[in-house]
C-alpha cells in the first residue's frame, strides 16, 4: 500500500503551492487580479492540506519507506524584470498541475481503497485545483503575446 506516499506528496505539493501563491501575490501586488486571486488560491491550498493532514497520518501508520524523488521543488522565489510575471505564473501553473494530477491519482486510489472519507476530501478539493489551473492558463495566455513579442 503506497497511498501514504501520494498523500504525503500531495500534502507537500499543496503546502508548497500555498507558499508560492503567497509569495507571488506579494511580489505582484501591482497586478490586482493576480494579487487577490493568488491570496484566494493560497487559502484553498491551505484548506486542502488541512483536510489531507489526518488522512496522511492515518495511512502513514501503514506506509513502507518513502521512495526517492517524490517531492519536487519547482518554485524558488519570485523574479523581477520584464518576464517576471509570466515566469512566476508559469511556475505556479506547473505546481498547480502537480496538485491537480495528484488529486486525480489519489481519487483513483481512494476508490480502490473503498475509502469514503478520502473520496469526500478529494471531491471537495479537486475542483478547486482544476479551476486554479484553468485560471493560470488563461492568465498566461493573455500575458504571453504582450510579454514575449511586444514588450522590449
Amino acid at each position: 500500500m503506497h497511498l501514504a506516499h501520494y498523500l504525503g506528496l500531495l500534502y507537500h505539493a499543496e503546502c508548497a503551492l500555498e507558499r508560492a501563491y503567497l509569495e507571488v501575490a506579494h511580489a505582484h501586488c501591482a497586478e490586482p487580479d493576480v494579487h487577490y486571486l493568488c491570496y484566494t488560491f493560497a487559502g484553498q491550498c491551505s484548506a486542502h492540506a488541512r483536510r489531507l493532514g489526518p488522512l496522511a497520518a492515518r495511512y502513514g501508520e501503514q506506509a513502507p519507506v518513502e521512495c526517492e524523488r517524490l517531492h519536487s521543488n519547482l518554485f524558488s522565489g519570485s523574479r523581477t524584470g520584464g518576464l517576471a510575471l509570466l515566469r512566476d505564473l508559469h511556475d505556479l501553473y506547473l505546481m498547480a498541475a502537480e496538485c491537480d494530477i495528484s488529486w486525480t491519482l489519489v481519487g483513483q486510489a481512494a476508490q480502490g481503497a473503498r475509502d469514503q472519507e478520502l473520496l469526500t476530501v478529494v471531491r471537495e478539493s479537486e475542483g478547486e485545483s482544476a479551476i486554479q489551473l484553468l485560471w493560470l492558463r488563461n492568465r498566461l495566455r493573455q500575458a504571453a503575446p504582450q510579454t514575449l513579442v511586444v514588450a522590449s
Binding site: 501591482a30 490586482p32 484553468l134 485560471w135 488563461n138 503575446p145 513579442v149 511586444v150 514588450a151 522590449s152
Partner: protein, 777 residues
Amino acid sequence: MADRIDEPWGRRTPFGPRDGPWPIRVDEQLAEGLTEEDVDRWVQAVSVLHSNGDGLDIAVRDGRIVGVRGRADDRINHGRLGPKDLYGWQANASPDRLTTPLIREGGELVETDWETAMGRIVERSRQLLASPGGWGKIGFHTSGQLFLEEYYTLAVLGKAGIGTPHMDGNTRLCTATAAAALKASFGTDGQPGSYTDVDHCDAIALWGHNVAESQDVLWSRMLDRRRGTDPPAMLAVDPRLTAVAEEADVHLAVRPGTNLALMNALIRELIVRGWCDEAYVARHTAGFEELERVTAGYPVSRAAEICDVPAARIEQAAELVGTAERLLSTVLQGFYQSNQATAAACQVNNVHLLRGMIGRPGAGVLQMNGQPSAQNTRETGADGDLPGFRNWANPDHVRELAELWNVDPLTIPHWSPPTHAMQVFRYAELGSVELLWITATNPAVSLPDLPRIRRILSRPDLFVVVQDLFLTETGMLADVVLPAAAWGEKQGTLTNSDRTVHLSDKAVEPPGLARSDLDIFLDYARRMDFRDRDGDPLIGWTDPESAFRAWQACSAGRPCDYTHLGYDRLRGSAGIQWPCTAQAPGGTERLYRDGRFPTDPDHCQTYGYHLASGAEYDGAHYRARHPDGCAFLHAVHYQPAPETPDSDYPMQLITGRTLYHFHTRTKTARAPRLQHAAPDVWVEVNPEDAADLHLKEGDLLRVESRRGVIHAPARIRPIRQGTIFLPFHYGYWDFGAAGPEADNARAANELTMTVWDPVSKQPLYKIAAVRVEPEEP
C-alpha cells in the same frame, strides 16, 4: 412648466396596467425669450447625457441650437425630458469648446491644423507598427457616448487595420457587468426586457439602481405607475436612502460589498418557500442542483448578519419578489461596481429564471447601462469584444469577420480575451503600450486611484491622443488633442438600455475646425492606408449612413441583427428595438419569449466563466454541457470584498451620480442651470457618524484612503451608518489643472482602489475603506 431643477421628475401623469399606454407629457426648453414661433426648424435626435434614450427634437434658429422638445410619439419617453436634456444642450455653444487641434511643443499644448496633428499621430503609429509586435504597442480607450457608426469604424480599424486587442471603452466602468452577466446567464449579450415592462408589472425590484438620478424619465414612468391604479410593489437595494429607496415598500440598506450574500439568501427563500416555476426551470434552465446546494448555506439569518440588515426585511423582500406575478428587475452600479459584481448580477437573472419571468409583458430583466450608447460600444466591439456579439474563442466567428472584412484571420486579435481597460493602462504603465488614443472620455477623473492614472498619462514614453469637445483633465496631459463635433453637430445612431435604436441627426455645424469622431477615424484609416487582402481600402464607407450599412452587414444573423433597420426607417420613428429583421420588421420588444436562449455552442458569445475566479472555459468543456437553448443558473459563494474597514480606515466609501451631472461634468458643468444645481463636491455622512465626529451640515471634511485624500463639505443624510457617499463627477479642469494642487483635491477617485471584478473586469468603485476627519478650522 415647473422648474425642472426643483422638480426633476416633473408633473405626475398616473396610469394603471389597464389604462393603455403611458400618457404623453411633452417637455420643452427653449433659450430665454424664445417661443416655438422663433424656431427655424426642428431636427430629430435623442438624449445623450444618460442611457435612457429619450427621443427629442433639437430647435435650431439662425444655425444655432436654441432648445429641445421631447418627442411625443417616442416609445421611450412619450414626450418627457429630464433636467440634463432640458439644459445640457447649452454646453454645445460654450465659449471654451475646442475649435482647433492642439499639439505639445516644448511642454505646452499649442494650436495647430489637422494636417500637422494627424501627421504626428500617423508618424508615431507607423513607427510603432514597424517594430516587432507593433500591434501591441497601440491601445484605445473609447466611450459610451459616441455613435454606433463611430464605434464600428474604430473597431474595424483597430482589429483589422492595426490588429490590436487593446481596445476598450469607459463602458468597462459602467456597463461591463451588465454584458458579462447577460452572456453568462443567457449565452450572449442582449437586454431581455423592455421599458414597457414598467407599464405591465406588478412589482419592481431595483438592485443597486438609483434610477431617479441615473435615468430620471424611466423613474417618472415608474412613479406614474405608483400613483395610478393597481400600482406595482417596489423593492430597493441601496446603502443610501435615495428617492427610490424612500418610495420603495421594502428598502434593504445593505453593507457595501455584500450583495451576493443577500442574493443567495433571496434565492434560497424562493426555493425553500416554493416560489419557483418548476416546469420553467426544468425545461429552460441548467444548473438548478448546484444553485440549490450553494444557496442552502445562506439562510436569511446569515445574510442579515453579513449584510447588516434586519432578517425580517429580507423575508419581506423575498416575499415581494417571490409572490409577484409580473416582476420587473433593474440592475445598475450598486451591483456592477461592487464586490462580486457579475455573480450578484447573475443572481438577479436567476430570480427571473427560477420564477419563469422573462419575455412576457411586465416580467423582465433590465441589466441597465449608464451611458447613451454603451450598448453600441458592446455590439460593435469597441469594448474589445468581437463585433456582433461574436465569440473570440470560436474560430468560425473569427473566420466570418475575416471574410466580411477580407483580411487574414490572423490579423484579428483572438488569441485570448480582449484587453480590458484597466489592463491597457497597466501595459501603458509598464511601457509596452506606447500610444494610447482616448476618445470622448476622461480617465484622469473617471478611473480608480487617480494619482496612479495621472502618473501613467504623464509618462514621457507614452504618446497620448485625446479626442473631445473640451480640454479635459486628460486632454491637459495629452500629446495631441483633437477637437470633436458634439451631439447635434453630427449624424449617427444610438441604442439605449432596452435595445431601442434611434437616429440622431445633425442640426448645426460644429465650431471652428472641430470634426465628427467618424470623420477623424476615417481620416486616420485613410492616412494609415489600411488595406484588405485585395489591396482595396479596408474601410470602404465614407459617411454615417454608409457606415451604418456596413454595420448592418456585420450584424446579420447575430442576436443584435440590424438588417431591417435603416436611416429612412429610423427617421420619424418612435425608436425601433433590435433584432429587426425581415421576420421581425417592426423590431422585437422582448427577447426569449419562448424560453429559448442563445446558448447554442455555435451561436453563443462565450463558452462560459467560472464566476468566482473569472477563469474562462473552452469550447470542448462548453459543448460537453449540451446547453441546448437552456439558460445557465450560476451559483457562487459570498466572499468579503478585497478591502474592508479596519481600525486605520474604519468607514466604507461608495461613489455615484447626481441627477444634474454626467460623467466628469465635461458638458453638464458648462450648462449654467445644471452647474448651479450642483456646483461642487460634497460628502454624505450618516447622522450618528456626524454626531460622533461632532459635525454639522457643511463642515469641511478630510477623507483619506490608502490611495489619497480629498476635502469636501459634509451633507448629513440617512445613508447607512459607517458608509459615506461621494459623487464621482468632480475633477479639476475648472481650476485649470489636470489634478489637485495644494488642498483642493476633490475627485472621488483619488480614494478608490485598482481592483476589478474577475469576470466583467469592471473596477470596484464601491468598496474603498476610508477615514473621515473634520478639517482643522
